[in-house]
């Protein structure tokens, strides 16, 4: 999976949980909670969905590392298998 595929997967899963957020409207530095207004239950659901889709398990202590698309991309790129 290349960077753009990871980014797309990340935004698609956000859209599934919060359909009010259109992937095209999300900026790379938008904060999931502060800017996109996901709440803590949304974040839990997102983490579960990303685990299923990308095969990367995200422990609670790492949630801050996926709080923006830029950070998430970096996080998944370093963990995702070939």
């Amino acid at each position: 999976m290349n960077d753009s595929e990871i980014r797309q997967a990340f935004l698609e899963e956000i859209h599934k949980i919060a359909p009010d957020i259109e992937p095209a409207d999300v900026s790379d530095d938008d904060h999931l909670q502060d800017d996109l207004e996901l709440d803590s239950m949304d974040i839990l659901n997102l983490v579960t969905a990303l685990h299923a889709r990308l095969g990367v398990s995200i422990p609670e202590t790492d949630y801050a590392q996926i709080e923006t698309p830029t950070k998430a991309l970096k996080y998944f790129a370093s963990r995702h298998g070939p």
């Binding site: 859209h15 599934k16 919060a18 359909p19 009010d20 909670q33 502060d34 207004e37 996901l38 709440d39 803590s40 239950m41 949304d42 839990l44 659901n45 422990p59 609670e60 202590t61 949630y63 801050a64």
Partner: protein
């Protein structure tokens, strides 16, 4: 689950000694004894929270340590908070507001919010907090019911959620925008505060003068605006002291947002009245951040909620290892019942258990609590505080009958405590329905055991408790049927191990609409836009028909029973069934 016993030292350290002579006093006097009061019997919450501490020589004492999202820190003394809130009170009068006017606040946890709340109360006006994560619909509905005169908010919230309908709200005369700039029809708060005087004498409000309006959801109809009076501060003071161990000098962190009643009563008023140092964190829940705050700020009393505690549990004990929690003296939880496992877990991880307590928007303060001096039965909400008389009742020939220990009925309280709501705005009939036969009826089903501990069983109505927030199904259903494809909607709460319950919707579609994933997302997206993430359904399923009574009322209870695989109960009124 086994009892968590308290050592003699722990009991001795408690603010409330259940055997002490203090109980001989009437409890109003007990609360009053923690206050100063104003001449001629007046009482003002804002004065009790800040001004009197300054007058008594504690102006330099730290009132609030604010932690910004970005990691900045700002410390406000009681003197600072008194001056800021005086500026806000003067600003309100300078802009033509009058005693009794309604001031609404919708914003995140920033210092201006605290100055606005206290300034409004000192001014003798009525303060209403709104949850900033609400969508435009819940914000508008609450401001309409409350006849809002003033709104304090941020530029971003104003633009996204308020500007489009602001002109239609004729009662709204002043919109204050946090910061240095504001849209044309608003006033920038920072320069306006700067211009206002730091001198303001708190209004001589009377015990029964309205001070706060807190909104809560109803099963049917619109949200209810519960009115609380200045005299409520007697119970705010007492319950903070006895149920939360708030004493002068203690470092205290209430994680609840002031947009809800807990965050105002125990996140602003009670701690300041008890002259503690409050930690205020602007950011949302983040495990490492939270553990870091408890350690670094040496938090002594921590008041949080089951959803957050269960998230800590999910992360496991390992995530807490390495942090120093030794400053913690007392932990408490509210919002929904705290499960026994979480109580036991917290005792293992923090060295002290979370003490669950129970109260509602209508009660204005904690009524039943696990306190420091009492052994904990994990899963129980504890025992009534001094001055609170609670019982378990059931209907009996138009009146009520008190049930013996061990039987399940409705949790009820003897009316008359100082922080009891005095009205639902414009809804006298609904208010009166809460009282019968000398009891206030809570709508919660509960049981009292033979040791006097109360145990929550469930709601007596269709209200949903999700992440500690009470959600009324009617408000959600109303938003869903605004979608062009939706004909009817029914909303219930389904159990969730983290949130307690999550909101689930059943909808029928108008003819010609296709039930598919895309439509489900479209409806859910609209609901989130209108209501906000905390209130909108997490899941929507399609049905061809919803179960209804002969009078056409949707039977949410039946949908819920089926969803949970429970007995369907009395279905004699069922006319059309679910398809």
């Amino acid at each position: 689950m086994s009892i968590i016993g308290k050592s003699p030292e722990e009991r001795a350290a408690a603010c409330w000694q259940p055997t002490s002579d203090a109980l001989e006093q009437p409890t109003n006097d007990l609360g009053r004894g923690l206050l100063t009061g104003l001449p001629d019997g007046s009482i003002n919450i804002g004065f009790e929270a800040v001004d009197r501490h300054v007058a008594q020589g504690h102006g330099d004492h730290t009132a609030l340590i604010w932690l910004s999202k970005e990691g900045a820190q700002q410390t406000l003394s009681y003197g600072d908070l008194a001056a800021m809130s005086s500026r806000f009170a003067n600003l309100l009068y300078d802009h033509g507001q009058q005693k009794g006017d309604r001031v609404f606040v919708a914003m995140g946890r920033r210092p201006e919010l605290y100055a606005a709340a206290l300034g409004t109360l000192k001014a003798g006006m009525v303060f209403t907090p709104l949850f900033a994560a609400f969508g435009p619909e819940p914000l508008r509905t609450r401001m309409e019911i409350g006849d809002a005169n003033v709104l304090v908010t941020t530029k971003s919230l104003y633009k996204r959620k308020i500007a489009s309908w602001r002109q239609e709200m004729t009662s709204l005369r002043l919109v204050l925008i946090v910061g240095d700039e504001a849209p044309d029809d608003c006033v920038a708060l920072a320069p306006a505060l700067q211009e206002a005087s730091t001198e303001f004498l708190a209004a001589h409000t009377q015990t029964e003068d309205p001070a706060l309006i807190h909104f809560t959801s109803g099963t049917t109809g619109r949200p209810k605006g519960a009115v609380h009076v200045h005299g409520a501060v007697q119970h705010h003071a007492l319950s903070g002291r006895y149920a939360l161990e708030l004493q002068p000098g203690v470092t205290y962190w209430c994680t609840a947002d002031p947009g809800w009643v807990t965050g105002t009563t125990y996140g602003i008023i009670s701690p300041l009245v008890n002259r503690v140092t409050m930690i205020v964190d602007e950011a949302e829940f983040n495990l490492e951040r939270w553990y870091g705050i408890v350690e670094r700020e040496r938090v002594e009393v921590w008041y949080s909620a089951p959803t957050a505690i269960r998230m800590m549990m999910r992360a496991g004990s390992e995530a807490a290892r390495g942090y120093n929690f030794s400053a913690l003296q007392f932990l408490a939880s509210v919002g929904e019942p705290l499960n026994a496992e979480a109580v036991v877990w917290s005792n293992e991880v923090f060295g002290r258990p979370f003490h669950d307590n129970w109260w509602q928007t209508e009660t204005g303060g904690i009524m039943i609590a696990n306190t420091r001096a009492h052994d904990i039965k994990p899963g129980s909400m504890g025992k009534p505080l001094p001055g609170v008389v609670a019982g378990i009742v059931e209907p009996d020939n138009g009146g009520l009958r008190e049930l013996p220990d061990g039987e399940i009925g409705e949790l009820a309280l003897r009316p008359g405590w100082p922080s009891m709501m005095r009205d639902y705005l414009h809804e006298q009939a609904r208010y009166e329905k809460c009282f019968n036969d000398g009891w206030y009826l809570s709508g919660d089903l509960a049981m009292r055991d033979s040791d006097g501990y109360f145990w929550f069983v469930g709601r007596a109505d269709d209200l949903i408790k999700t992440s500690g927030h009470l959600v009324g199904p009617f408000e959600v259903e109303s938003a869903l049927i605004e979608h062009e494809a939706v004909a009817e909607a029914a909303v219930i709460g389904i159990p969730d191990e983290t949130a307690g319950e999550i909101v689930k919707a059943f909808v029928t579609l108008n003819s010609g609409q296709t039930a598919d994933e895309e439509l489900e997302r479209d409806i859910r997206g609209l609901a989130r836009k209108r209501l906000g993430a905390a209130v909108a359904p997490r899941e929507i399923v399609f049905r061809n028909a919803l179960p209804k009574t002969r009078s056409g009322k949707i039977m949410r209870r039946l949908l819920k029973a089926r969803e949970l695989g429970l007995p369907e109960g009395d279905i004699s009124t069922l006319e059309t069934d679910e398809k």
